[in-house]
């Protein structure tokens, strides 16, 4: 199979290039894209990419495969390959450090803005703050996010305003704390989102939903944040 890989080493290269390589895939096995990258690395040890858990938990190996963002460890070759060619690029919209490794600073800065931690100034109970099962269920579909950045880097609004638009990953987490009954900073959290960029740059095109490797729905969470803002503002 032919694999075309985005190569860029800023210390050496003036511009990025797509480099074609050949990989022999074992017959009868549908490898993960991360396995293909490992095979490529045996041919050329200078290829750079992030990886860690190799089972869809750490979110390190988010890359763009044949035009669609996803986790390399979680995506089989047959899911993405077209005309027996696999095209691997870094996540779009973020500065490239080297090859498939991107600088996630802007992504984490947006994540930091939403204060991704429980805020509750009431005196803590002896053991822990308990929730009812119904209240806990409100967090399903939100807490599972692994911050791989596949969604935010598939979002044109994040490409255009990465310094102002929180992005789908950050907003999913923002709603995760807005929906948490133990959190008491709802008013402050919503006030921090009521500007023309943070939430309202979302145009609802749902790229984030299409690429989320965990099957989450940031667009729905953003809609709920908007509803909360409308309810609070009227």
């Amino acid at each position: 199979m032919q694999v075309s890989v985005y190569r860029y080493n800023p210390d050496i290269d003036e511009v990025p290039v797509m480099r074609d390589m050949q990989v022999e895939l074992p017959a009868g096995k549908d490898l993960m894209v991360l396995d293909v990258l490992e095979l490529l690395k045996t041919q050329d040890p200078t290829i750079s990419y992030r990886r860690s858990c190799r089972e869809g938990v750490c979110g390190s190996d988010g890359i763009n495969m044949n035009g669609k963002n996803g986790l390399a460890c979680f995506t089989t070759v047959s899911q993405v390959v077209k005309r027996n060619k696999l095209i691997l690029r870094p996540l779009p919209g973020l500065p490239v450090i080297r090859d498939l490794v991107v600088d996630m600073t802007q992504f984490y800065q947006q994540y930091e803005k939403i204060q991704p931690y429980l805020i509750n100034n009431d005196p803590p109970p002896a053991q822990e703050r308990l929730q009812s099962q119904q209240d806990r269920e409100q967090l399903d579909g939100l807490y599972e996010c692994i911050l791989c950045a596949c969604c935010s880097t598939a979002c044109p609004s994040f490409w255009w305003n990465p310094d102002k638009f929180i992005g789908p990953a950050g907003l999913l987490q923002a709603y995760r704390f807005l929906a948490d009954t133990r959190d008491t900073a709802t008013v402050e959290r919503l006030a921090n989102l009521d500007d023309p960029f943070s939430v309202f740059r979302c145009r609802g095109i749902m790229n984030c939903v299409a690429v989320c490797p965990k099957g989450l729905n940031p667009t729905r969470a953003i809609g709920k944040i908007r509803s909360m803002l409308v309810q609070q503002g009227t």
């Binding site: 989102l193 500007d195 023309p196 309202f200 803002l229």
Partner: protein, 121 residues
């Protein structure tokens, strides 16, 4: 640097609600005008009687201002999305400001022209 200084309300929520309310007004006005053209034989007398009646003058004025608000929110959003240094280089701020001024000028001309037509001055 992109800022929210020229945003209509400087509040994402207010812009969001205003854009949807004005969209409803524009849709209602479209139905009124289309209904008129479909139901009533179009003559100069029929047109003037319909559009220069007091309720239609008020509705037309509301619609004209709705277009201004709706269009400005949309055009400001487009400008702050696409006219950025990352896309158009170092002149982005100047280009965006010029674009916004041209949009405002067109909308100003449009509202004055609309008021002249609606209120016959």
């Amino acid at each position: 640097m992109v800022t929210q200084v020229l945003s209509l309300t400087r509040s994402g929520l207010a812009d969001f609600v205003l854009q949807r309310v004005t969209a409803v007004i524009l849709a209602a006005y479209t139905f009124c005008v289309l209904g008129f053209f479909l139901i009533v034989p179009v003559t100069y007398v029929a047109l003037t009687e319909y559009f220069w009646s007091a309720p239609m003058q008020i509705f037309s004025t509301l619609t004209a201002f709705s277009i201004i608000a709706h269009a400005w929110i949309g055009m400001w959003t487009i400008g702050t999305d696409y006219l950025r240094a990352a896309h158009v280089g170092g002149l982005a701020d100047t280009l965006r400001f010029a674009y916004q001024m041209i949009c405002l000028l067109i909308l100003f001309v449009y509202i004055v022209w609309s008021m002249r037509l609606i209120w016959q001055f």
